[in-house]
Amino acid sequence: MYRGDLPGCVVLADGTVFEGFGFAARGWVLGEVVFNTGMTGYQEIVTDPSYHGQMVTFTYPLVGNYGVADHLMESGEVRSRAVIVREVKNSVWNSTCREAWVDWLEKKGVVGVGGIDTRALTRHIREAGAMTGCVAVGNDLCREDLLAAAQAHPAMSGLDLVSHVTCREPWEWPRPEGAPQPRYRVVAYDFGIKRSILRNLTAVGCAVTVVPAHWTAADTLALGPDGVFLSNGPGDPAAVGYAIATVRELLGKVPVFGICLGHQLLALALGFSTYKLKFGHRGINHPVRNYLSGKVEITSQNHGFAVEPPPVVSEALERGAVVGEGGVSTLAAEDMVLDSPFGPVQVTHLNLNDGTVEGLELLEVPAFSVQYHPEAGPGPHDSYYLFRQFTRLMEESAGFVAGSRARNGF
């Protein structure tokens, strides 16, 4: 059974300590301690750049069961600073995965702690809220020092973490074998973009140019795209002012589709506000209702911030109702239209667990966004349709979009 030799622990900023053993890299790291409730997809999770600055606790107690593989990478690196689990596996029996989890993490220099009562830790975060912490592995760990370090570490709110994970130069996402011939040119802002998003865009016929977060609207428009994609990413959206300004400039000039942080940036560009959730949504089982179709999608989620809900939603939540009479699931789409400088904005999706805003659509400008992850990676594929919705939007907007199809040579 895999069990590290060294002690390991999680010290939270409020002084709570969870003890276990260390695995993979030794040493200590700081970050926000969050939990993810997915039962599969640990490799996708730790390589998702949105986890930058965080340390993931897996609520599923066995992690590493099937190993790791290149095709499961969501970025080039492990982004979660530490991995917190109950039991860790370090073998490779699944023929689609070639490497073992612990060995791989060690190679990547990631600190892991196992043997933790991760359910107790999760319940603590649920009640006390996500907070900074220190994950440490080694002999002679001084609790007081670790606690002091955890408390000194900056909290998430107000942090621009995008600049840490975005690419330096624009680059073309290579079209994988078997993907359809591209029919749309898309510029994708890399705020910490996941590869699954790029894969999905190519699957619906997009040729994708990935650009850094600071790439200006003018430079983007100069590329003559059929559409602009705003990616997911880490940290506080309100702290990424430059990106918000860029989005505001792009709106109306080119169809825009945003996911996760991209959704929050769109909301901020529309003049709405965002706030930090108590402990966020991280998992692959969150029910989201599409108020336009009436159907519920099971979604993949990873966010700590959210868009301020429209008044009708807040009122329903204040009544304590999610399910049943007067609950958010019974609201009508037309009650959830907000005003913005870019015209009316439809709230299209809500999370049925807690009423958070999960989707926006501008009614007079070609732009929409979702808070969750339709690209899955990991998670269910219920929301793949949104990528088609993006291409449809690009089709419909072709007439007034700055870049034309002919110029793009498609």
Binding site: R86, N94, S95, A120, R126, P287, I298, S329, A376
Partner: protein, 1126 residues
């Protein structure tokens, strides 16, 4: 959208008797459904033939019909009740098949009954193999290819047309795949197909693409009418394809697939439920996946709630049946709240933070000749489930939840061990662990089993941990074991007993040391959401972690009720029925009722039933841990059968307060010597007996009491290893197996009383007063296990004085033993020539018995509830029990005495599952389930019970009679009646002679053995054909078999006859009493022109118990008179 208002009355179909493959999981799902529908304001009409179910309690539906689940009877119920809709998806395959039959014969259309949950087209698409294949193809999915062929040439053509080797060859119409095989090469193919064709009576085989060795997965899917679809749970079978999922050890969630692989299966599941068109409700979809080729095939889809969905519900906390019922009446998933979080909707996918392992429970020890290999035909009779934070912990808990009576036999030779693990068997995992202990490599075990290496590695790690612990033995053992090491061992899942074995210490020593070091279990909640939201449902499992979530709650006093563990033959749903009643009643009395059980199929493990549910093994250690965590007022051990009773003594010794009948009284009843003194004091008779510990003693005692003797190990349930022995030789032979069955306990030898009528009595005593629940007369005579015997309420052929004596003896026994709660007494009544009757006490069990639900349903008095009141300290005289005052006034022991109907319980036997096993009954219990038939007379009730049990008694045709000499006098009158009724009678030589001499027309027919000899001779001479009775049965020319062997004689011939009858599903009577009853039933049925009558319990009793709405803590049992409806 709220619920539908255009329907008002809904017919719910249950699944009938417990049989292998269809057990009490459908009581769990049906009970949930009935409860939900009643809460939603619908009129609920229920039909289920099984009286042992909670769902057939009159308080769970408005109209409860305990009637045979056959089309004509259900049609009659529809005609009488005129329901608007029929919900067929919660009663297993039985209910689904019935719904199809009622649609196809036009009944549903005629009465305008709408099928809700799944419509006829969807059921057909899922169930008809060709339609299913085509539907799968239409969504780009594949099912294993197959073809039905009638000759080798056709088979070869099928392969030429694209059927790929290896292929499984299954002969048609042979039981259990007899004569089939696997062909991997073209040469093998020809010979296996040829053999299969010969084995098949209709010369036909099914060729099926082999997916043996592939990984097997199941997904539980739910869909609502707005097309929202969610996956409730994924289940991975540890045993690869080739073993029925009901016989596989399974784990949830799946452990070995990447998210990419899992999502592919999820996508397929969504596509399947949509294409099949299951509009609302749950479905179970099974996949086979080849890790080598990455191929995924769909094995099957059940468009209904299944055994796996019960498991998935218990594994996740998501109540599939309850939600399915709500969806069926129009709700959508997003309109239903998740019970556990209350704030979030049911439209989500549960995520769990623990591992669940299910292990089946088999009963091969009951069927010595059965093929014990596990195949695609399910053979297990029950299962347990265990929850742990890791796979190893859950697996080890599940292994110890099996409660094995017989320890697995492990070969000394390691090579043989490796050979044995290659064949799936009940002991497979014990053998695999042992192989690792002996150093067999993981690769070798993988090659032998095809079990995913991930699981094998887990097993190896368990063995490594064992060795690590063992290494401390040399260093001072338990006392020197560091706390951290002990904690790690407990975290891994070892029991105190296992740790003790490894460190050469006793379980008690380990416990003491463990508690002293502060290594005590924590309890975690099952909450559907991995702690993301607050859980309101108190459903817990133990594990060794930092935080304990199950803190004792101040306020109400608590009471723990111990469940009955995995179903097995002799201990099944009847005990769960009693446990559920006890829990409900304790809650009603104001106690916090806490349930401990490990059987995922049951109602008792529904988190809605108790105030707290601990899903734990029912071992001394695990139970005491819960007791120490909860500190209850006391523990109730008398409702869960032998399981809680087995540990009651140790719990008592550990200072636990056993509620109800004291431990002293339990010991008194179980200890033969002391019990004999009780009988002597009371002046009661028992058959002469002796208790022996050696072979010499046994022979001496048998000589003294006189042959035949009944031998059995002490402390057994269900007549395990019980046998009637006629001579010293057989006794000697028997002793070897009996000693093995129960090494720590002596063997009991009783004089076997021949030609006796057996009587069962269930009674409740409060220490002083006694209330008789029912006096039940067995249809079969003594010698056949009471659990296998049909029985009837009231007694139909005992004199009034005899019954009164039985009642008085029961009361005397209850008082003398000091019973507080339920008690069951078995009597043998020997009718004597000079008028009187000898009454012998055979057995007393101071606990709830198997017959409690039947007695309760037949009389309308819920005995387990009454007993619970008594256990809680109430007096019987204060309960206003039916018949109480009247009986006392007449100077009799109180009992309900105004029954105007007759109720018969008949049993259901698993013989079709076990080819090669003889179908005669004996002192060892073999039945898996029971049905009840109600009528105005014994024959009518018996006929219904037979029909419910699957035996359709003929109205015309041919009856075969062959009886041993000792029974010949009893057969004459029977044959005369049948002959007069117009039946053609066939008889073997001896029987034929007797019938002829008695002037009864019968045709002689050759015995099988005689016929075979003649045939061999005739072949040599080249003469004509020889037809034996077996041939006639096989040809479908016989409608009823009366075959009564005596002792050990007439076995070979009778055996062939009975197996043939079983293959052709011909009703077979193997004892005189049952045959008499059948003849009576046939005559009665013909006299009444085959008219079908149905009766619901509410009408039958004229009252029902009104307990649900009563104020807590105060209400006495209330008897609410219903309007008499005639």
């Amino acid at each position: 959208m709220p619920r539908r208002t255009d329907i008002h009355k809904i017919l719910v179909l249950g699944s009938g008797p417990i049989v292998i493959g269809q057990a009490c999981e459908f009581d769990y799902s049906g009970t949930q459904a009935c409860r939900v529908l009643m809460q939603e304001g619908y009129q609920v009409v229920l039909v289920n033939s099984n009286p042992a179910t909670i769902m057939t309690d009159p308080s769970f539906s408005h109209r409860t019909y305990i009637e045979p689940l056959v089309p004509e009877v259900v049609a009659k119920v529809i005609e009488v009740e005129r329901p608007d809709a029929l919900l067929p998806t919660l009663g297993g395959q039985t209910a689904l098949n019935l719904a199809v039959a009622l649609w196809e014969d036009g009944t549903l259309q005629k009465y305008g009954v709408e099928l809700i949950g799944a419509d006829y087209r969807a059921i057909r698409r899922a169930e008809a193999r060709d339609e299913f294949r085509a539907t799968m193809a239409s969504i780009g999915l594949r099912v294993p290819d197959s073809a039905v062929v009638n000759s080798l040439a056709e088979a070869q053509a099928a392969v030429a047309a694209g059927l790929r080797l290896p292929l499984i060859i299954r002969p048609s119409f042979t039981l259990g795949g007899h004569g089939g095989g696997v062909a991997a090469t073209a040469a093998e193919f020809d010979s296996v197909v040829q053999a299969g064709l010969e084995a098949s009576p209709i010369h036909q085989v099914l060729l099926e693409e082999s997916v043996m060795g592939w990984k097997e997965f199941e997904l539980e899917v739910m869909r609502d009418r707005k097309d929202n679809v969610v996956i409730v749970c994924s289940i991975e079978n540890i045993d690869p394809m080739g073993v029925h999922t009901g016989d596989s050890v399974t784990v949830a969630p799946q452990q070995t697939l990447t998210d990419v692989q899992y999502q592919r299966m999820r996508d397929a599941s969504l596509a399947i439920i949509r294409a099949i068109g299951v509009e609302t409700g749950g479905s179970n979809i099974q996949f086979a996946y080849s890790p080598e080729t990455d191929e995924l095939v769909v094995i099957e889809m059940n468009p209904r709630v299944s055994r796996s969905s019960a498991l998935a519900s218990k594994a996740t906390g998501f109540p599939i049946a309850k939600i399915a019922a709500k969806l069926a009446v129009g709700y959508t998933l997003d309109e239903i709240a998740n019970d556990i979080t209350r704030k979030t909707p049911a439209c989500f996918e549960p995520t769990i933070d623990y591992v669940v392992v299910k292990t089946p429970r088999w009963a091969f020890e009951k069927f010595p000749l059965a093929d014990t290999r596990l195949t695609t035909h399910m053979k297990s009779v029950g299962e347990n489930m265990a929850i742990g934070r890791t796979f190893k912990e859950a697996f080890l808990k599940s292994m110890r939840s099996r409660e094995l009576d017989v320890q697995p036999e492990i070969p000394e030779d390691t090579d043989e061990l490796v050979v044995r693990i290659a064949t799936p068997s009940a002991e497979r995992y014990d053998l695999i662990l042992e192989a690792f202990r002996r150093g067999v490599s993981l690769e070798t075990i993988f090659r032998a089993t095809q079990i995913d290496e991930w699981f094998l590695e887990e097993f190896r790690e368990i063995v490594e941990a064992e060795k690590h612990l063992q290494s401390f033995t040399a260093q001072g053992g338990l006392e020197s074991l560091p706390r951290e090491e002990l904690r790690q061992a407990k975290r891994l899942g070892f029991s105190d007993q296992q740790i003790g074995q490894l460190l050469r210490a006793t379980e008690e020593e380990v416990r003491r040391r463990r508690v002293a070091l502060g290594v005590i279990p924590t309890y975690k909640a099952v909450d559907t959401c991995a702690a993301e939201f607050e859980a309101y449902t108190p459903y817990f499992y133990s594990t060794y972690e930092d935080e304990n979530e199950a803190l004792p709650e101040p306020g109400r006093q608590s009471v723990i009720i111990l469940g009955s563990g995995p179903n097995r033959i002799g201990q099944g749903i009847e005990f769960d029925y009693c446990c559920v009643h006890a829990v409900q009643e304790m809650r009603e009395l104001g106690y916090k009722a806490i349930m401990i059980n490990c059987n995922p199929e049951t109602v008792s493990t529904d988190y809605d039933v108790s105030d707290r549910l601990y899903f734990e093994p029912l071992t001394f250690e695990d139970v005491l841990n819960v007791i120490e965590n909860e500190k209850p007022k006391g523990v109730v051990v008398q409702f869960g059968g032998q399981t809680p009773l087995k540990i009651a003594g140790r719990l008592h010794a550990a200072g636990v307060n056993i509620l109800g009948t004291s431990q002293e009284a339990i010991d008194l009843a179980e200890d033969r010597e002391r019990f004999a003194q009780v009988l002597r004091r009371l002046g009661l008779k028992a058959p002469p007996y002796g208790t022996v510990r050696t072979e010499e003693e046994a022979l001496a005692v048998a000589e003294r009491v006189g042959y035949p003797v009944l031998v059995r190990p002490s402390y057994v349930l269900g007549g395990r290893a019980m046998e009637i022995v006629y001579d010293p030789d057989s006794l000697q032979q028997y002793l070897r197996t009996a000693v093995k069955a129960s090494p720590d306990h002596p063997v009991l030898i009783d004089r076997f009383l021949e030609h006796c009528t057996e009587v069962d009595v269930d009674a409740v005593c409060d220490g002083e007063d006694v209330y008789i629940g029912a006096v039940m007369q067995h249809v079969e005579e003594a010698g056949i296990h009471s659990g296998d015997s049909a029985c009837v309420i009231p007694t139909v052929s005992l004199g009034e004085a005899t019954v009164r004596m039985i009642e008085e003896q029961t009361a005397a026994l209850a008082r003398e033993l000091g019973v507080v709660g339920l008690m069951n007494v078995q009597f043998a009544v020997q009718q004597s020539d000079h008028g009187g009757a000898g009454i012998y006490v055979l057995e007393v069990n101071p606990r709830g018995s198997r017959t409690v639900p039947f007695a309760s349903k037949a009389t309308g008095v819920p005995l387990a509830r009454v007993a619970t009141r008594v256990i809680a300290g109430l007096r019987l005289r204060d309960l206003d029990l039916p018949g109480w005052a009247e009986s006392l006034a007449a100077g009799m022991i109180p009992r309900r005495r105004d029954l105007r109907h007759v109720a018969v319980k008949e049993v259901v036997l698993p013989f079709p599952r076990f080819p090669g096993v003889d179908t005669t009954l004996g002192p060892e219990m073999k039945s898996t389930g029971e049905v009840m038939g109600v009528g105005r007379s014994f024959p009518e009730a018996f006929a219904k019970a037979s029909l419910g049990a699957g035996d359709r008694l003929p109205r015309k045709g041919t009856i075969f009679i062959s009886v041993a000499d000792s029974e010949k006098d009893s057969v004459v009158l029977m044959a005369l009646v049948l002959s007069t009724l117009g039946f053609r009678i066939l008889a073997t030589e001896g029987t034929h002679r007797v019938l002829k001499l008695n002037g009864i027309e019968a045709e002689p027919v050759l015995k099988h053995t005689v016929g075979m000899e003649l045939r061999a001779a005739a072949m040599e001479e080249g003469a004509g054909t020889i037809t034996t009775i077996v041939d006639l049965i096989e040809a479908g020319e016989v409608d009823l078999v009366i075959n009564i062997p005596r002792g050990r004689g007439a076995r070979t011939d009778g055996y062939e006859i009975r197996r043939a009858a079983l293959r052709r599903r011909v009703p077979t009577m193997t004892n005189a009493a049952a045959a008499h009853a059948a003849v009576q039933a046939i005559a009665n049925d013909l006299r009444r022109g085959g008219e079908v009558t149905v009766t619901c319990l509410q009408d039958l009793h004229g009252f029902t118990t009104q307990l649900a709405g009563g104020p807590r803590g105060s209400s006495p049992l209330k008897w609410v008179r219903l309007e008499e409806t005639g």
